[in-house]
């Protein structure tokens, strides 16, 4: 009997959480299109989510491209098709790895920080203080992060793609002796604008997911525990859930939309 009751309680809690998350996202979008927009805060968050993530994006993009160049060359050598190394590196990068890796890196670097910052503001009554000033906390804490995620993620993904393709070029051409013209020539003839759009659409969605989940977990930090423990759990959940949602949504978009 207890098992049934506990299962029912958990199911109801899960449903309530999903509803709360959906309402949270709806409010975030609503306040994003309703003026006034806090432009300074938006710029600050674009710098935080975008500019300050550049180094990690460059590093991971370069090495992801390099390892794909190395593995791709070995695999293609077995069937004598080394000439297709360019598309073999570029296509997965543009369609999948770029958006997903950039999303996961930004989640780890910026998402955790967003959740922790908002969580600390919640437990120290700073969000209540905003409300008591007659101000809407969403405009100050959620909207700038949501818009910054939407703006920064596609740009970071594009940078990841470019540096990844360059990494593949370094390994394939300079290390393994493939012709540079072949590497880029085959790439141009096998990649369509739709492939690039697919990556951009995905990165836009991942930008929304990161801002949404991380802001939500921080905003309702008291649901996961009290004080510092609550913030710690909220931050962990923000990173874990964002990463999982990114991978699930990636599969959904790939299978249904493209």
């Amino acid at each position: 009997m207890d098992l049934v009751r506990n299962t029912g309680t958990r199911a109801l809690q899960g449903l309530r959480s999903m509803g709360l998350m959906a309402v949270f996202l709806g409010k975030a979008f609503l306040y994003s299109v309703m003026p006034p927009l806090k432009v300074f805060l938006l710029m600050k968050q674009i710098r935080f989510i975008g500019t300050q993530s550049l180094l990690i994006i460059l590093l991971t993009g370069l090495f992801a491209g390099m390892v794909m160049g190395l593995q791709g060359f070995r695999i293609l050598s077995r069937v004598g098709s080394e000439a297709f190394l360019g598309p073999m590196v570029a296509l997965p990068l543009i369609k999948e790895l770029g958006p997903v890796f950039a999303g996961l890196m930004v989640t780890g670097r910026a998402g955790s920080s967003i959740a922790a910052e908002i969580g600390i503001m919640r437990i120290s009554n700073q969000i209540d203080a905003l409300e008591l000033m007659g101000l809407n906390p969403f405009r100050y804490l959620v909207v700038p992060n949501l818009l910054a995620g939407i703006i920064a993620l596609p740009l970071l993904t594009a940078i990841f793609d470019v540096i990844g393709i360059f990494g593949g070029y370094l390994v394939g051409v300079h290390l393994l002796g493939l012709e540079g013209g072949i590497y880029f020539g085959e790439m141009a003839s096998h990649i369509n604008p739709e492939d690039i759009l697919e990556g951009i659409y995905k990165s836009l969605c991942f930008g929304v997911i990161i801002a949404w989940v991380c802001c939500y977990k921080g905003y309702y930090t008291e649901r996961w525990g009290h004080g510092a423990e609550g913030v710690s759990k909220a931050t962990t959940r923000a990173v874990v859930f964002s990463s999982v949602y990114i991978l699930i949504w990636d599969y959904f978009m790939t299978s249904v939309l493209f």
């Binding site: 700073q126 209540d128 203080a129 409300e131 008591l132 000033m133 007659g134 101000l135």
Partner: protein, 248 residues
């Protein structure tokens, strides 16, 4: 100014407030006393509209707080100030920016005018020298004074104080209370002070209400509370460990 009628509130099945009724007149300072964890701050949060009652009605400036929509509640809150126990200063901003924040966000005031008002307010609370410090660099008393300056710069008609002297030494505590008194004389706001440090606060209030077991058990002027023969009130005033109030 503030009217609470038959307020009930539970948290996770635990009924904290069980039928509180209280009227606070315009311009008076009311202390809400009672032992720690009894639900005094819960009442304060209901007045501020941060919590919704399970039952009952809270009227602030003639408006039923519990039935107000978001927009109306935000409008009403523009007349309210709340000094949180920990100050609730924005920790990524300096003291100056914290105090200037409400003016920058809610008015079209020019920066020179904002500077004049912020420095005036900081001068009133003795923090002119600390304008460029961050909240993490302030002592407990300075944090409370900075938070008070931030709340008062908007000239609220109602000021709520959540444990304004908790954790401060007696000298700083008295300084904070004197500051509240002098600001009250200047602005004539309606004040509610939640505290369990009765002896210090009785010098600046008009009336006090004692909360026990979720209800108001005593209400009156400070001298009436001090001379109360109610065993619960007597024990609390004298700080005795033996009596009807358990300290668990």
């Amino acid at each position: 100014m503030i009217s609470i009628e038959n307020l009930y509130k539970s948290f996770d099945g635990n009924e904290v407030i069980r039928g509180v009724s209280l009227n606070i007149e315009r311009g008076e300072i009311m202390a809400l006393i009672g032992k720690s964890g009894i639900g005094k701050s819960v009442i304060l949060k209901h007045i501020a509209g941060l919590l919704r009652p399970d039952r009952g009605r809270i009227s602030v400036m003639g408006k039923d707080v519990s039935s107000l929509g978001t927009r109306d509640l935000m409008q009403l809150r523009r007349h309210l100030g709340l000094l949180f126990q920990g100050g609730a200063l924005f920790d990524s901003m300096t003291v100056y920016d914290n105090v200037a924040f409400p003016l920058r966000e809610k008015t079209r005031m020019k920066e020179e005018e904002i500077t004049r008002r912020v420095m005036n307010e900081l001068g009133q609370v003795g923090l002119s020298e600390a304008r460029d410090k961050y909240p993490s660099q302030l002592s407990g008393g300075m944090t409370k004074r900075a938070a008070l300056a931030r709340e008062l710069i908007w000239r609220p008609e109602i000021m709520l104080f959540d444990e304004p002297t908790t954790g401060l030494d007696p000298i700083i505590s008295n300084a904070i209370l004197k500051l509240i008194k002098s600001v009250h004389e200047r602005l004539n706001f309606t004040g509610v002070i939640v505290t369990h440090e009765i002896n210090q606060v009785f010098g600046i209030i008009d009336r006090a209400a004692m909360l026990h077991d979720g209800i108001i058990i005593a209400l009156g002027k400070p001298e009436e509370i001090l001379s109360s023969q109610d065993p619960v009130v007597k024990q609390f005033i004298r700080g005795e460990t033996e009596g009807p109030i358990s300290f668990y």
